[in-house]
Structures are given as C-alpha cells and as structure tokens.
C-alpha cells in the first residue's frame, strides 16, 4: 500500500506462508488508507490453531480491529468486543486471536496497538529503537489479555515490522533452534538484509523475512502459519508511463520532454510515441533482436538512452492489464513482464496518455479488435489502485 504522507510515502506490505497441509492461512492481514485524513491503518491477526477455523477468527479480529481503529473507538472497549464476539476454545476456554495494529497518521505520528503478538520492531539506521511511550491496558472481563499501546514518531526511512509467532517460533525444538528463531534471530536477519540493501522495499523485506522463517523449519515443512507485515516510510518511487501520440502535433515537444524524468523511471509504450520522443530529444531506440525469442506474443522491448524502456503500445498494455488482473505474470511476454515489474517497484504510476486516434489501428484487415487506449488505461488504473494499492494519476495530452 502506498499513500501520500506530506511528501513521504507509506509503503505497507505483508507476506504469508500457510501451515503445511492446511488450505487456509490462520493469520490475516488487512489494511486501509483514508486519504482525506492522510492515515494508513493495518492489522495483522493470528487466529487460534490453524486452518479454516483459525482463518475465520483471524479475519473476524482483523476486520473488527480495522473498523474500530478507523472510527477512533476506545481501544479497550474495542478489544473487549472482539473477544466477546469470538467463539471460545473448548480446551483452553479462551476466545483467542492476537493482533497488531499500525495506525499511522499525518506527519508520521503512529500508534501501535498489540495484543499477544511478538513485539513489533521499529527499525531506524539498523537499530531497533527502544520504545519509551508504552501504555499497558488490561480488560476487567478478560484479565489474562494485556494490550500494549505504543506511540511512535516515524522519521523518513523508518520501518515498522510485525509478525505472527510463526516467525519467532520457526524451527522451535529443532537442533540448533531449541527455542525457535525468536525475535532476536529475526531482528538480526532483518538488520543484515537492510544493511546489504538499505532501500529494500516493504514488499521485498516482508517476503524475505517470511521466506527465511519458512526455511528454518525442518524439511521446509511449515509448522505454523507465517505472516510478516512491514511498513516503510520513504520518498515515493514514481513510474511514468507515456503512451499514444498527443492530440495536437504542436505539443509534441512538450510531450517528449516529459520523457526526461530523473526523479523516477519512464516507459514509452507505442512505436509512434517512441518516434516522437526520439525525434524531439534526438535520441534513438535500440531493440535487442535477441529478445525476440523471449518476447512471446508481443513485439520485443527496446531501450532509449536517457529515457528507459520502450515497448509496443496497445497490445502490450492490454497484456499488462490482463497480467495485473490475473496476478500471474511470471510467464508473460518480456515487454509486459518488464512493465509489470516496474509498476510493482513503484508507489506512484503516472500515465501520460496521448489522445490522437491511431489511423493505422483502423485497418480492417487486422486479425483482432484493438481495445481503445483510454479503456486499457482505466483497466490498469483499477487494478493498480484496488489490487496493488498504488497511487495512479492520468494526464491526457
């Protein structure tokens, strides 16, 4: 998830592994952004046991917690409602689900509410910052359950990391891991990872932590559900997608200048688009003919020096839209896969869309119906915003 927080961005992602043999994950992660409050809320919940039952408890907990926090309800009362609502375990006589909530507000002011999950990590410059503003709350009706509320002031570059006990207890009881990976083990791994790659995205960091926890399990059999959620406050990464010739030829130069964008990355989608930019900026496109064998059912991608990736237009963008909608692009054609990967590594995707009708696409002998460029862009916007939580802007030319 990415959202604007003054001029910074909150990237929020999670990675999960399901306990081996189960059909559903017993942990749940969900998040919401409230743009008009410049607020991001995320919840990680771990349900008692595993499988469908745990999944239900975790989902109920995270859904309720998210709604209560969002509506600024008293947190103790919220937790009581959650515990009253969950079914009680017959053996342990407790209604069990843990949670960690990150509630980040304007300016980086963040409240973290935890109940029985491993304590979160606030990472700044490879240091797990000690928490100095912690409040503990105990419910009269559920005296066994303690809640910790921590106020955190986030600075640019800071990360908040939370995980379910599937991470800290990875390998528990196995040779070398008598007490499991533990929080310290995970923390050392995180520090090493961030030291090697200081700008690692929340998505990649969550994914490597979960994968490392998984790999500690004997024979890579996951003994408990694993979930890791990472919040990363940083300067936004922008991808600019330029596609289609401008409606008025007089604006060609202005349009081409948008392709010079040192603040982010650029993709030119469309032969005519690439030619306009190439002509105005006096630079050229190189297409590696060796890419043809990897280019699948799309024209091969090329590169323009000083600009970036260049692909064919409408067919490639239609494939990108389909890939984003299906969520599977591993075996996609090279041009589409490169664009999807660039999109995934960005927080903001800016589309600059030329609106001139391409006469060549009106050829009646074409074997397929080409979709309207603007429709494809709308499909891309819907997927990127709703499914991949990116910020999307569209500017027509």
């Amino acid at each position: 998830m990415a959202m604007e927080n003054d001029k910074l961005f909150v990237e929020l992602e999670a990675s999960q592994w399901i306990k081996t043999g189960q059909a559903a994950c017993g942990d749940d992660f969900r998040c919401v952004r409230i743009p008009n409050e410049k607020r991001t809320i995320a919840v990680l919940s771990d349900g008692l046991g595993s499988g469908i039952k745990a999944n239900l408890m975790a989902s109920m907990t995270s859904t309720m917690a998210l709604e209560f926090v969002r509506s600024n309800m008293d947190i103790l009362q919220s937790a009581e409602i959650i515990m009253d609502s969950l079914p009680v375990c017959e053996i342990r006589k407790i209604s069990y689900a843990t949670f960690t909530v990150f509630d980040m507000q304007l300016g980086g002011k963040t409240r973290v509410v935890e109940m029985d999950n491993p304590p979160f990590i606030h990472l700044r410059n490879l240091i797990d910052l000690p928490k100095n503003n912690v409040k503990e709350l105990v419910s009269e009706r559920w005296p066994d359950r303690k809640m910790r509320i921590t106020e955190v002031a986030m600075a640019p570059g800071d990360r908040l990391i939370a995980f379910s006990d599937g991470v800290t207890q990875a390998g528990l009881g196995c040779p070398g891991w008598k007490f499991g990976w533990r929080r310290d083990g995970a923390l050392n791994f995180i520090k090493r990872t961030v030291e090697k790659n200081p700008e690692i995205s929340a998505r990649d960091l969550a994914s490597v932590i979960a994968a490392e926890a998984m790999s500690i399990h004997p024979e890579r059999k996951c003994m408990d559900d694993i979930t890791c959620m990472v919040l990363y406050l940083r300067h936004p990464r922008v991808l600019r997608v330029i596609t289609g010739p401008p409606f008025r030829k007089e604006t060609d130069r202005e349009y081409a200048n948008l392709a010079v964008f040192p603040e982010g990355k650029v993709v030119l989608c469309g032969g005519t688009t690439a030619n306009i930019v190439s002509r105005e900026l006096r630079t050229r496109v190189d297409i590696d003919i060796k890419m043809v064998s990897r280019s699948g059912n799309l024209p091969p991608p090329g590169y323009m020096r000083g600009v970036g990736l260049v692909t064919e237009g409408i067919l490639t963008l239609t494939q990108v839209a389909a890939d984003l909608e299906s969520g599977d692009w591993q075996n996609s054609a090279a041009a589409a896969k490169e664009i999807v990967n660039l999109m995934m590594d960005s927080d903001i995707v800016e589309f600059i869309v030329g609106t001139k009708i391409n006469e060549a696409h009106q050829d009646p002998t074409l074997p397929v119906d080409l979709e309207m460029r603007r429709n494809v862009i709308k499909r891309l916007q819907a997927s990127l915003e709703n499914k991949y939580r990116k910020n999307v802007t569209i500017r027509y030319f």
Partner: protein, 90 residues
Amino acid sequence: MSEQGMIKVEVCCGTTCYLLGAQSLLALEKSMPAPWIGKVEIVAMPCLEVCTNDNYSHAPFVRINGEIVGDATVDLISKKVNDLLERHAQ
C-alpha cells in the same frame, strides 16, 4: 549496402505490422541463410510510420537499405536481399 558494407533489413514492430506478420519476419534473424551471414543485418524498429501513408502498400513493412517494402513476407525479403547480394557480387 550500408557504410559498413552490410545490407540492413529493418523490421517494423508497430502494432499493425506486428499483428499482420512482423513476428515471422523477425524470426529470419535466427534462420538466416548461410550466404547472408556477415552480410545482412536484421534489426527490429519501433514503428516505421508508413502504414498511414497511402503511397505505400500494406503492412507489414520492412525497410531494406532505406527502401520501404510493403506486404512483406519472408519470401519477398529473401528475394530482395538475394537480388542486392547478387548485384553487389557483380
């Protein structure tokens, strides 16, 4: 021949050309006849922008040493290139 003495075949990879068969033309790079090797260069181009020009025939287009060839097929390109090679051999 180009400056380096190579025959340059530029294959248009615009949407229309690609849909009408440019992919099979690019495959020529891999299955180049032996006499062409070292003498013919096949490159992919973003769009030659000739499909909207009525002076030319129909997509897919290639440009062989600067000359636009429409309705391009592997056979047509082979013929044109072989003719050029023959002419240069004489």
